[in-house]
Amino acid sequence: MDILRFATAGSVDDGKSTLIGRLLFDSKAIFEDQLEAVERTSRDRGTEYTDLSLLTDGLRAEREQGITIDVAYRYFATPRRKFIIADTPGHIQYTRNMVTGASTADLAIILIDARKGVLEQSRRHAFLTSLLRVPHLVLAVNKMDLVDYSQERFEEIREEFTAFASKLNVGDLTFIPISALNGDNVVSRSENMPWYNGSSLLHHLENVHIASDRNLVDVRFPVQYVIRPQKANDHAFHDYRGYAGQVAGGVLKPGDEVVHLPSGLNTRIASIDTFDGPVEEAFPPMSVTLRFEDDLDISRGDMIARPNNRPHVAQDLDAMVCWMADGAKLAPRTKLTIKHTTRTARALVRDLHYRLDVNTLHRDEEATSLGLNEIGRVSLRVTQPLFVDDYARNRLTGGFILVDEATNGTVAAGMILEAR
């Protein structure tokens, strides 16, 4: 059994909570005491139906104001897979939360109301999904019961969305007509839409192939921690020196020739160690410890790659940045801390090339700053070299966060486009 992480985008009006509620309920991930609590609260508020959004809106302020504040993580499993849902709210702080939820997602579900069709927000959701390089996108056309399960209506929406998506980098796009309220095509195929030959939503989630979405080609191992046992009485490990980290790309094997960055020196992998014994290969997302044949000076923040397949070693980066701070803005000359893989440095914003309108994809080259939830292309100068790939090639070596040095808050997420 493996794990599929997916993000859901859409507002309560699109039936998102109802859909999640149904997936959780039908897979028995909602328990009686949770359901009772939700029923009780719905009744107290005079709501006639059981408001399943109350399952995810856990904070006091959310229940008081009837809004969702933050990304909520929900879990369910079927005999085939374990699922982690990043449920992101649909209002003001949407962009920041969706970017956060999508950063680790294998798949995103965008909900569209069949009566309303492709709206501005559907386009925004699709753009963010492609910006964050979520490998699989499902367009769930909901409330099909309210358009008489019309194939014609479904095809109209499919055509309109496909035309828009062709302008984006969407890997795998699937359309599913559903009714979350009635359960049509959610868990099992609906008899109300005999014209639809595809999978139910759950069947699709259970079977979509994700193992090859990871980069298994370019070996990237950011050194996270140096392990040197200092137990004087344990002679077996007296001279042990291992380099611990989580594989960010490629497949590593003992005997492989590798290059250490920044030194540029080559060595071979002597052994790939784990608590449970040495392993014959390591690939993402494994956390392992490497030992090398030569004694090199290696520390946290360094990178292990292949001599003939190295990341860019760069201090000048161009990136798409999503600004996430409430107060401060991003503008040229802003100084921030950058965290990329296991390396932390300082960064200076040299240039803001344009601000992107996430609804129309229009590039505003006159923009002088980025505010909360705004996205733009920037050039950064970093105080020490980073070992980077284009985000499109590897999400782990192509993504970074920016931290405000005064407030210590995480103020931006960045996706590397170009390194110089």
Binding site: D2, I3, K28, F31, E32, D33, Q34, A37, T56, D57, G58, L59, R60, A61, I69, D70, V71, A72, Y73, R74, Y75, A77, R81, I84, R96, N97, V99, T100, T104, A211, Q224, I227, R228, P229, K231, D234, A244, G245, Q246, D273, F275, D276, P285, M286, S287, R300, T337, K339, H340, T342, R395, L396, G399, F400, I401, V403, N408, G409, T410, A413
Partner: protein, 304 residues
């Protein structure tokens, strides 16, 4: 040529993520510690720590906030396990906080030291100058926790501000704090109760005996089975009886209920949990029943 399938099982993915988180903390903080209660989640967390730094020793101490009302079997397990690992165990005692006048003990039948733990915990964090504190909490446990970060920022007063959390992207964690502030770190955030048990089975990890079915004198209160103990005040209208029970969570005796069960092996526990229709906190924790937002309120004050 045969294509190798690089599918990774859910436990391997969760374990790799938790190891990554632990190493990140060890690398970026000066004085981390790991909260170890002898409960199943902290036992799993300890195994992850063992794996993350092997063959070196775990590079931080363990800490237990002891209410003085814990089960003997669990305290015995806690001490034995810490000793086996050669780890330093700090016991922060709620009794000491009471004796020093830092907190005032509740009285009456429903008196519990559960809430008093927060003061003891925060005092200990301050005394030892811990800047990162590992906890075994999971997001599937409770809905306030479903929205908490893996690296959860706490201010000078140990408070959690749910509306002002740092965004967390990819596998990058922001560890920057000022002196006096700290980060609560939850490496098991993405685990479910069933994942924890599957992992205990896979790893063959020992757990305290009270997780397995045994005969115990109990009494019923609010639909929960509370143990017969000198620290739990029982009324005349709450008769004792013998039952075959086990614990799904282990906490303070005054607010942790047992469930009727005949499960005597980890396999039987997994079968039982897979079939159950009530959450672990709903079944066994009086502390969460106080109000809809009981957990959130306690977390805001600095609770685990």
């Amino acid at each position: 040529m045969l294509q190798r399938d690089y599918t990774t099982s859910q436990l391997d993915v969760l374990e790799a993520e938790a190891i990554h988180i632990m190493r990140e903390v060890a690398a970026e903080f000066e004085r981390p510690c790991l909260l170890f209660s002898g409960g199943k989640d902290s036992i799993v967390m300890l195994r992850i720590a063992e794996k993350a730094f092997w063959p070196a020793a775990i590079p931080f101490p363990l800490m237990h906030v002891d209410t003085g009302h814990n089960f003997d079997e669990v305290i015995e397990f806690r001490d034995r396990r810490s000793q086996e690992l050669g780890a330093r165990l700090i016991v922060a005692s709620v009794q000491d906080s009471i004796d020093q006048g830092r907190v005032v003990e509740d009285t009456g039948r429903r008196a519990s030291r559960n809430r008093l733990q927060t003061t003891t915990l925060l005092d200990a964090i301050e005394e030892h100058e811990f800047d990162a504190v590992f906890g075994g909490a999971r997001r599937d446990e409770e809905k306030a926790r479903a929205k908490e970060r893996v690296f959860s920022f706490r201010d000078d007063f140990g408070q959690w501000d749910p509306k002002n959390q740092r965004p967390e992207l990819w596998n990058l964690y922001n560890s920057r704090i000022r002196k006096g502030e700290h980060i609560r770190v939850f490496p098991l955030s993405n685990w479910t109760e069933l994942d924890v048990w599957d992992y205990i089975r896979r790893e063959g990890i020992e757990i305290p005996s009270i997780y397995f079915a045994h005969t115990r004198k109990v009494f019923e209160r609010d639909g929960m089975l509370l143990p017969d103990s000198e620290v739990v005040q029982r009324g005349d209208d709450e008769p004792l009886f013998e039952a075959v029970v086990r614990y799904r969570t282990v906490g303070d005796m005054t607010c942790t209920g047992a469930v009727q069960s005949t499960a005597v092996t980890v396999e039987e526990i997994i079968e039982e949990i897979a079939a159950t229709r009530i959450t672990e906190r709903g079944a066994t924790r009086a502390d969460d029943r106080a109000s809809e937002a009981a957990m959130e309120d306690r977390k805001r004050e600095g609770y685990f």
